[in-house]
């Protein structure tokens, strides 16, 4: 069997087609409902890519990715509310904050040699600690959260039209896809794939496993942090549960795993599907949290039949077979 190579570039045509569809979407479906749908799908694709880069490409499975998101959300919001710093500047600030937390978690856990489920648990613990801390200190507004004053204007990163948010998150998501594509092509990406597959072999071939893992957590943290800033500006409100709730960590890894962990478009495919499931269930039923039940069911089905994610449906055309034996 020849397998589909994961370290080969994706053709430009495919990237451009996806981008064209995404740009056309708000013009084809201009309703506020649909644009909101698009914003959320792209937002989850974006933060899902944050998880995917460290969890999918580098194999460092985390249950606490929301830590980066929340720190980014609080960093930009606090900067804005206390010091009047523009949320446009808040985006890179949130990225730096996320990267910083990613780096700290990475250095502490990888220095201690934590791998696999131990790493997953320690990330969960970090996120929970941040949630509890943000709940009890003053600067975050404690349990009340922070309400960003409404002040509509593009210069305040508050758009009168939802499509403004749509194109902002589209640009960010495109950037995250570019990072993922770079991982496919670059030496760095090849080294991360090696680390994911076998750390001892990676070391034997001269890869500084610790340094590369810290690097990937910096990148992943930066993306998560930027996602936090965007989220805060879109909903104009954050509290500890929104910023550091476990459910968001789960959603970040779900979109990546359902779509296809370690693939460039996996998070996008997963987030579109999950946004559809969520909207459909919310429209058709009044049952709270039904969408999460369906997510779970979907995950089971996908792990059983498409262990490499939904993206497998698209990449498996050339007579390849699923790795799992029937």
């Amino acid at each position: 069997m020849t397998s589909v190579s994961e370290l080969q570039p994706i053709p430009w045509k495919l990237h451009l087609s996806v981008l064209a569809v995404a740009i056309a979407f708000p013009f084809v479906f201009p309703s506020s409902f649909m644009v909101n749908f698009g914003v959320l799908a792209l937002f989850y694709a974006f933060i899902g890519q944050s998880w995917n880069i460290s969890g999918g490409f580098a194999g460092q499975l985390s249950f606490g990715h929301v830590a980066f998101f929340g720190v980014g959300a609080y960093a930009s919001t606090i900067m804005q509310m206390r010091y009047g710093i523009s949320p446009w500047l808040g985006l890179p600030i949130a990225g730096l904050a996320g990267a910083f937390v990613g780096g700290v978690i990475a250095v502490l856990s990888f220095r201690a040699g934590l791998k696999g489920s131990y790493f997953a648990l320690i990330t969960l613990a970090f996120a929970e600690v941040l949630r509890i801390v943000s709940n009890s200190i003053g600067i975050t507004g404690g349990g009340l959260g922070l309400l960003i004053p409404m002040n509509i204007g593009a210069q305040n990163l508050q758009f009168a039209e939802r499509s403004g948010f749509y194109f902002l998150i589209l640009a960010l998501a495109a950037g995250s896809v570019a990072v993922a594509e770079w991982m496919r092509r670059s030496r760095f990406g090849a080294q991360l794939a090696a680390i994911r597959e076998n750390e001892d072999s990676a070391k034997a071939l001269g890869i500084n496993v610790f340094a590369e893992k810290v690097k990937v957590m910096l990148i992943s943290g930066a993306i998560g942090g930027i996602g936090g800033c965007f989220f805060a500006q879109y909903f104009l409100y954050i509290d500890p549960l929104i910023a550091f709730g476990t459910d968001k960590s789960v959603e970040m890894l779900l979109v990546a795993m359902i779509g296809g962990a370690g693939t460039v478009y996996g998070p996008l495919v997963g987030s579109v599907l999950l946004a559809l499931v969520s909207d459909v269930t919310r429209t058709l039923t009044q049952i709270q949290g039904l969408s999460l039940v369906l997510y779970g069911a979907l995950l089971v089905v996908i792990i059983a039949f498409l262990p490499n994610g939904l993206i497998d449906l698209f990449t498996r055309k050339r007579g390849g077979k699923p790795e799992r034996k029937k």
Binding site: S5, E6, A190, Q191, A193, E197, K203, L205, G206, N208
Partner: protein, 251 residues
Amino acid sequence: MMLQVANLSKVFGGLRAVDDASLQVEQGRIVALIGPNGAGKTTLFACIAGFHAASGGRVQFLGQDITGWPVHKISRAGMVRTFQITQPFAKLTVHENIAVGAYQKFHDRHEAWEHARAVARQVGMEGLLAQSASDLTVAGRKRLELARALATGPKLLLLDEVMAGLNPTEIREIIGIIRAIRDSGVTVLLIEHVMHAVMSLSEHIYVLSYGKIIAQGTPQEVVNNPAVIEAYLGRGSADHAADKPTQVAHA
């Protein structure tokens, strides 16, 4: 001197897996490390390559004291090991596996991938480039171990039983490959159980038993050494084997 191991020891709890072992590998040679199962050969390799911290002793590589260096730094300095139990990057293709090694030498993508292709040709894997590493046969995996290590552009290769589990034809092929690697300027230190391969390949042999180097010399000297025969066949065997020194070869 390519590699100089001086009085190396490795203690696990109460067990001295490697006990005061010293060996030297001259540049451009093929040197073998043999010994009965459980003698500590792989542990000695792991200590030399930095996978285990030695409990005592020094390792010098190209005149530099590398004792205690991390694995990746030793690898980048030019000493690269393979694994007895093959450790492929299972989900990657053969080409990608070798490219990971090649990226240590070439940072440019195109150069790395071309180099990986050339190395695959060198070890006779060019027909398997697109195959997933998990689909390889044992022989294929052993070659892949070799290819990956070779792609890094090493000065010294530590080969841990690259012939175990291969059939005679495959062994003959890999012997040729290893010779060609040496002729291209790479020094080789190998652990091997396939004795006829050791005899035909290596110029110098060290024999490890219960963690100690009990003999060394040319292949002929080593197989006729009573201590070696005893190590393989048990105490008292040396007298019986005196007439038939090649018996060791079948041990």
